[in-house]
Symmetry: C2
Amino acid sequence: MVGSSGSRSDALKPGGTARLAAMEEDPALQLRVFDLNCWAIRYLSKRRQERVQLIGDTLCQEGFDLVLLQEVWSEQDYGVLKEKLGGCYPFSHYFRSGVIGSGLCIFSRFPILDTFLYQYSLNGYPYMLQHGDWFCGKSVGLVVIKISGIIFNIYVTHLHAEYCREKDAYLPHRVVQAWELAQFIRHTSKAADVVLLGGDLNMHPEDVGIRLLRGWTGLRDAFAEAKRFEGCEDGCTLVPDNCFTAKTELLPFPPGIRIDYILYKAASRFAVKCEELRTTTGTAPGKDIPYSDHEAVMATLRVRRQSRTPGPALGTAGPALADVVNEARTEVRVGLHAARRQRYSSGRMAALALLLLLLQAAAGLGSLAGWTAGQPFPKLSFSLLAFLAVGALLLATVLHLFHTMEVKMLQGTEEEMRLALRALQDRLGPPEPGRRAPSHGPFPSRPVSASFSS
Amino acid sequence: MVGSSGSRSDALKPGGTARLAAMEEDPALQLRVFDLNCWAIRYLSKRRQERVQLIGDTLCQEGFDLVLLQEVWSEQDYGVLKEKLGGCYPFSHYFRSGVIGSGLCIFSRFPILDTFLYQYSLNGYPYMLQHGDWFCGKSVGLVVIKISGIIFNIYVTHLHAEYCREKDAYLPHRVVQAWELAQFIRHTSKAADVVLLGGDLNMHPEDVGIRLLRGWTGLRDAFAEAKRFEGCEDGCTLVPDNCFTAKTELLPFPPGIRIDYILYKAASRFAVKCEELRTTTGTAPGKDIPYSDHEAVMATLRVRRQSRTPGPALGTAGPALADVVNEARTEVRVGLHAARRQRYSSGRMAALALLLLLLQAAAGLGSLAGWTAGQPFPKLSFSLLAFLAVGALLLATVLHLFHTMEVKMLQGTEEEMRLALRALQDRLGPPEPGRRAPSHGPFPSRPVSASFSS
């Protein structure tokens, strides 16, 4: 952002808004949005405090309308930003969840009218301590703001990380998160004029989760839609030029990868266009470090009222969307298969540990009652074995419960997807444009008049 | 229901719908809703399978439009009901969550267009095994249906049980659930014509959670609004006449308590009225057992189109609602205080266990290195102590993590309530009726035109 701030046209500067709009025929609202995964993990992220200060200074100078941040794990860092940004962004919200916190926060020039948080039902495994996603309580946060009478539903989110693309054990969880994100946006945004989503989705642009999210909500990708683009090649937000990125992970993708997005859509009486999209390009200007290990994404959007046109509610045409939902459903099923296997293994381990304990108890009791001659085992080994069995029993039981929950949530998602597919297929049959069909998405309008009488 | 089915007027029977409506001036839709906490816990609930069959038979005979069930914990029981009800209620959905399942399901005469599940962020404690609420993953389920072009958002839920009214340790969690329920309904129902909520809320009608839910969503209580009522005194749904209820728990409330509800509201272009409300009254007719330990609630609603009138979006007037939100916020703060104390205690316990382990390790190493003369402890006691310390460390760490999450969620809710109060207070100041103010609830309409230009 700052890396190219000198090259921005004056029209895009805060004071220049009017000029740009005056060139057009009708009034337009211009909204400048900033999105960044801040990589602010206490004790782990390099030069964290320095970078938080730098992000704060830059946001103050640039004067965006909306700032969507992820990985602000520490509330102290949020406090630092809030204090620094109080003048330019008087309204803000931090979303709390999980053990560590969701890491999500929003700064706004406009009053925040309402907030709501949805925590994803699946988010990795608590025993994968080296990954730690589970402890973050990954969520999607919603804030409602109103600018010039236009209702904006602003969503910020961060999905489960991808640690190994070739053998991605978390793919089913991420697909479930993408589905829940899409469902949450669909269900909560029906009265919104403009919907905006920013965040680190941890998915490449053509991954099934992104196609599902875009297809199922009708959200459009600011990068793909932007009239002008400036920044890293292909809009990448994890790039080798950034000194904090792991170069080996990016080897298969020479220009880098794009996993941070700004997506948007408007209700039928409004039109949103992306005038410009920019990314930062590694090292911040005048500094020796970048803002984060991710690049920031900055969009300049233009919102205009228009006469109501019944546009398509979904982003992807019916048959293509059905294919995407089917593909996602297959991933969920793969996850379900793995979860069931793990549930079975942990259950078997618990049963074996219990059996061992019972045998030990029988042997111990037998020894006490004098049924056996002398001590069957040395006391120490006997006690250690009993403790190990208790430990194994507890651990296996907890794992079994956890994987049972995982199975339930995967089954629930699979069922929701099945219902969605049926509705899509119904719709692809005899189309019947209903009064509310667009706002209710892909579902058929089937008037049932049995109980309606006059 | 069956207990008084003989006394129902013909107009209320499925075939009689038209007659009732014909007496009125304009077309009206009549909807008959059934709600029951089924108490179908495998191995624990008395005469469960017999009662599930009985519930199924009765629902078939009575032919409601919508059936909202709770505590159908086993998917087998759901399967039994689904098979039995397939003819009269061709559409159904079971909501999966938690270890056991949410227990929530819906049967409908009309196609289910969409479903969504929200799991409450707080729901008791996993170590309270004797209560078990945590394992159920208490949630609110939403299904969208469309009847005669009218969009219905149907919610079914079950909140955390109250085990001791005098010293209710779960009150803050239940208040958080009531708040999340209200927020979920508000945010997801903005395009709905009619909103309907049924479930076991585990709160008496004047409890803060119910007042919060009704005030914040504008939902009306079918019992309070019904033109005709028939059933247990005061609409109670846990009554001493039911042979499955714990009589001692009901001693302070001679007629019983009302904790199962049907609530509803309509968008401004529709009007909903409750024509009749009924409850079952203990033992089912012709049988020696009731349907459940709860009484069923049955409402006959009448939905009519009307010219759009900008009615109040909230159920309670501003100042009164602010009082309710404040009261709820106080409960959340009490919970926050307790959760912080527990987080501290578990953290201290973990630290002490770690200290003990370190001391043991030092002593053990010292002994191995020959720094001390002979064996400092007998081997067995030494090992047992080490195992106990490891166990205590693990347990305390898990507890600490759990209570940290609890603190985060309580803080988050408290913050959301603070924001809501501020918005309410703003609104109570200079009122300004905005274009969308009703659908966006209690928030002020403040046009900010800085970025809007022509």
